[in-house]
């Protein structure tokens, strides 16, 4: 018989929780991309050893409680206003690392002005943008990034371009602004994509040291609860339907 104690030894350790993550149980649904991205940010903060000097700005949306999970100082911003909050934090404390964590409704609907103008001023902040094409927290309503035909509670027959307009490619728009230095679109649905996203996040934080301007990391994500799918099916649906509209890769890297 092997005792469990014989297995829990430092030399057998292959993965451990980042010390930047708190012990609080996440409220996210099983299969949700938020937990993965939270973990990646925690790892980047730990790897860069900037826990003492990083300040997060949480949005309104599912990740409104992001501040419960990362062991750093936080601001909980009003819906859409995170880039304005982050602007002041960074301007007043230029030596700190400042990031916003925003969903598609927060960043691309109600907070479009704050997002565009923070990027246009080239604020030295990192914007992490979770795009799952739906309003998860409030129960699955249509988002600005909901793709054509995609079902949501406020477009039960699918997004109608004539009625609802087009899914907004906000990241491409932000890439056109001279204030942004690094704009990339990633995903976290496979081990490989998770690794790529971590590299992107690291770069986005490092750009703050060089004061190059605003860095944006979009993560095309699933919301299996909102999409009414199993996690596996949601991942497949994202690859087949979301990626053609929101293709992965760097849009700008200067």
């Amino acid at each position: 018989m092997i005792d469990i104690k014989d297995i829990i030894k430092p030399e057998n350790l292959v993965f451990k929780k980042s010390k930047v993550l708190t012990d609080m149980e996440m409220h996210y649904c099983p299969g949700c991309s938020h937990g993965v991205v939270h973990n990646l940010i925690a790892e980047v903060i730990e790897d860069m050893d900037i826990q003492n000097s990083v300040i997060g700005v949480a949005p309104v949306g599912c990740s409104v409680l992001a501040y419960n999970y990362l062991h750093i100082d936080w601001h909980e911003a009003a819906h859409g206003r995170a880039p304005a909050v982050a602007t002041a934090v960074k301007r007043l404390m230029p030596d700190k690392f400042v990031f916003t964590y925003q969903g598609d409704g927060d960043l691309a609907a109600i907070g479009t002005a704050e997002t565009i103008h923070a990027c246009n001023r080239g604020e030295d902040i990192t914007i992490v943008f979770i795009n799952n094409g739906i309003y998860g927290m409030t129960g699955g309503q249509m988002a600005p990034t909901t793709i054509e035909g995609m079902v949501a509670s406020t477009c039960p027959a699918g997004r109608d371009l004539k009625r609802d307009g087009y899914p907004i490619k906000i990241t491409e728009i932000l890439a056109t602004l001279p204030g942004t230095c690094y704009v990339t679109r990633q995903a976290v649905h496979t081990p490989g994509s998770v690794r790529k996203t971590k590299i992107a996040l690291r770069k986005a934080f490092e750009n703050q040291i060089a004061k190059k301007g605003t860095s944006i990391v979009e993560v095309v994500s699933t919301c299996n609860s909102g999409w009414r799918m199993t996690p596996v099916k949601a991942n497949n649906w994202m690859v087949e339907n979301m990626f053609p509209v929101y293709p992965l890769g760097d849009i700008k890297d200067e």
Binding site: Q51, N52, S53, V54, I55, V57, V64, L65, Y67, H71, I72, D73, W74, H75, E76, A77, A78, R81, A84, V85, A86, T87, A88, V89, R91, L92, M93, K96, A113, E114, I116, H117
Partner: protein, 360 residues
């Protein structure tokens, strides 16, 4: 040694802010207060004190920049005029809910809507009764001179940090646009990072190993927690009411009648008191300096002595409700005011006193 200058009220706000050691100003242009940011941009305080001055994309952005700055423990402020302050109400509610100190200047103009750019006091209710959503209060100061525009910057920041509560300077186009002599304090240094952390251990300045993480938030998903916060806020407001009432009286000792007026209406009414006194009418002026906390008891103290009160406001009658609450029916209280950017003249006020209070 105080320095004497001749300045507009709006310019005095800017000068006082730099001298007081304010860390950041975030604003959006709107008449009649754009001189505040214009003056700051000419002063270039980032080269001297290190103060940040930023023109935001909207009042919505500027108030949320205040949220971020205040949450960082910095002394931050904005200024705007009525329509802009309406836009800020969401952010102000969040700031009050998160118990953050900051200063908001409202140089009030006539409304509703886009209204007029001329002076008004029709944002009294918005300033003292809430404005945004939820049970909260701002500390509200009403300057009546350019000197007070300057002095109240320091006072507003002191009160805001003492109570961790947003403070508003409720001014109007008259005080903002007029020039008077004003004396300024010497330049003070901004807080160093050490001082800031020592004074504001709650601020989100980066989690150091010696303390728990600081989270600036107004979100309490459990109703029981939210009620706890509401109780805490209410206790704070009662404390402010007990300790921070400020007002001024003029010729009230032998007064048979009282005018109650704040801000520029108090200046105009002071002249009306002088006019009435030359006619032998014994009238005094009580000027609330803090609109929250309101001098209820101090006004009520005159209930036995006087026969009637006229409130003079550049609105349809807002503060009059608080004056009526103060005397709770013991004394007749009437309102006189012009609206929409029209300003009362001293003789109009004196006439209203005779007609509505003495003769009425």
């Amino acid at each position: 040694m105080r320095e004497l200058k001749l300045m507009k009220g709006n310019e005095a706000i800017a000068e006082a802010a730099v001298r007081y050691g304010v860390d950041g100003y975030f604003g959006y242009p709107i008449t009649p207060q754009s001189e505040v940011m214009e003056t700051l941009m000419l002063m270039k305080p980032w080269e001297t004190t290190g103060m940040v001055v930023l023109q935001a994309e909207s009042e919505v952005a500027s108030i949320n920049m205040l949220y971020g700055g205040a949450g960082s423990g910095k002394r931050v402020m904005t200024s705007s005029s009525s329509p802009g302050v309406s836009l800020m109400q969401e952010g102000i509610s969040y700031i009050a809910g998160a118990e953050l100190p900051c200063v908001i200047v409202n140089v009030v103009r006539g409304g509703p809507g886009l209204g007029t750019i001329q002076p008004s006091q029709s944002d009294y209710f918005q300033a003292v009764k809430g404005g945004g959503h939820g049970d909260y209060k701002l500390i509200v100061l009403a300057p009546a001179s350019v000197q007070e525009m300057a002095d109240f910057i320091g006072l507003a920041f002191e009160l805001a940090f003492k109570y961790r509560n947003p403070a508003m300077i409720l001014s109007d186009g008259v005080i903002g646009q007029m020039m008077e002599k004003v004396e300024f304090d010497e330049y003070r240094k901004r807080w160093t990072e050490e001082e800031l952390i020592k004074n504001n251990p709650w601020a989100a300045t980066g989690k150091t190993p010696d303390r728990e993480r600081n989270v600036i938030t107004s979100l309490h998903l459990q109703a029981v927690d939210q009620e706890k916060l509401n109780h805490k806020l209410q206790a704070k407001y009662r404390e402010i009411e007990k300790s921070e009432v400020r007002y001024e009286t003029y010729m009230c000792d032998d007064a048979e009648y009282l005018i109650v007026a704040f801000g520029s209406s108090a200046r105009i009414s002071k002249k009306s008191v002088e006019l009435a006194r030359t006619k032998g009418i014994k009238v005094g002026l009580l000027r609330p300096i803090t609109l929250f906390p309101f001098p209820y008891r101090e006004i009520d103290a005159y209930s036995e002595q006087i026969k009637g009160i006229l409130t003079v406001e550049m609105n349809a009658g807002q503060m009059v409700e608080d004056v009526r609450l103060a005397v709770s029916g013991k004394v007749k209280v009437e309102h006189f005011g012009r609206m929409g950017g029209m300003v009362s003249s001293p003789d109009e006020v004196e006439e209203a006193l005779e007609q509505k209070i003495i003769g009425g």
